[in-house]
Symmetry: none
């Protein structure tokens, strides 16, 4: 048998809260998704004014980051033309993205979930997701 740790809803809510804090500070309303270690959604928040178009994108970023056990923007270079991962975005029925804004949530170096953020620029999305993941890291240690 395998024993594993994953996010509680209480923790996921905290992650959402940290992301909202950062997004409000930046003045950019965001869609924020938090998934568990299996990539399944635990909590979601669409801040007032965030794009409906980015709801599913936020979820996909979180799903991909949990699945890759890596930040989506870090995987991007490996999928460029000529690279071994070229064309990966079409995999998993489109639930594979390398757009920045998906960041794993880790405990002792093990991925226990991920956050996905989408509605601003890719840079803004990444900043919010990274901030929430970093704060999570400090909180659980």
């Amino acid at each position: 048998m395998i024993t594993k740790q994953t996010l509680s809803y209480a923790l996921a809510e905290k992650v959402i809260g940290w992301a909202v804090d950062k997004a409000e500070e930046m003045g950019v309303p965001q869609n924020i998704a938090v998934v568990d270690d299996a990539g399944h959604l635990v909590a979601f928040c669409r801040m007032d004014g965030a794009k409906f178009f980015s709801i599913e994108i936020a979820m996909t970023k979180a799903y991909a980051a949990a699945g890759l056990r890596a930040s989506t923007h870090e995987v991007a270079p490996k999928t460029q033309p000529g690279m071994p991962g070229y064309g990966a975005q079409a995999l998993n029925g489109g639930r594979f993205t390398t757009l920045g804004g998906g960041v794993p949530l880790s405990v002792d170096g093990r991925t226990v979930g991920a956050i996905g953020v989408s509605s601003g620029t890719v840079e803004q999305d990444t900043e919010v997701a990274q901030y929430a993941a970093n704060t999570f890291q400090e909180y659980v240690n």
Copy 2:
């Protein structure tokens, strides 16, 4: 131009909270989705122990209730064999459900969003959704 009202995230969070209160009282962990008047997700909560399988079902119930402007369980009888709505569940790419647990959120008789609940029995899901929708009704009036 058409002017319309829809849910803020603050209101959606309250709806989630009321649903969680009821689900906890019943001892049944639930997936709870809240969508706006256009069927787009605003907030989502998977309580600890709720089935991953029911995440998308909760969303579909909310989507259908917002779209039908009616509770999903009220539409169910109209889709039975021999009834005019027979076979409706295959429509909208499967985003049409008559499983109980989808209830509209209304202001002055107009649908401004909906809640979808899934992970318990259909009766339990309906009870939680109805409780949250009723409490919303009292809150906004």
Copy 3:
């Protein structure tokens, strides 16, 4: 080679107009789709207040009526439990419906397109579609 006749946009617009007239008379805002003989959309109208949920359903009704060369409600009995067409609604990726409101548009007994109507009750949808198809029939003869 095959020579065939199908709807012009000008004719499709007329069909939409007749349906809108009927829907307004009934006081029921509707989604109205008109497709050509190949099932491809020619014109679409969402009247103010019609359900977003029924946009795709209107299109599916029109697609099915053009494809079946029969009104969707006439096919319904053949798909009931125990009948040879049972389960047909799952075919064509869900673009098969027997919900009333899809009616072929015919010239000299040949289907040249179809209308699909959705947002009211199945009976209301059927009444609007039938009215527009009948008016079309008179117009082209």
Copy 4:
């Protein structure tokens, strides 16, 4: 609660009309889709001779422009190899396009809907959509 404005069918019909005028002037039959602020279809026109293949593409362009709150051709450079948005086209189940011809419809700087045009070259599609969006802009101000 959030109060927002979106397109009426009467306004959407006008937008279609402006697009048809431009397309006729150019001698290029087009598929023209108009969606509301939530990306849901309000009106659609396939001019005689427009490609059936481009029906869904016109809708997707409108959906993406409403969702991105930007013209699809303006987003295209950000999705090129090596850019942060690389691979975005695979998102939202393929309902994400950067092909020119999707342009937002705005009132006081807020997106209230979008137009999508497809059947000509990307340049022709963009020209028609832009013309209709500009005329809309003048009309509502």
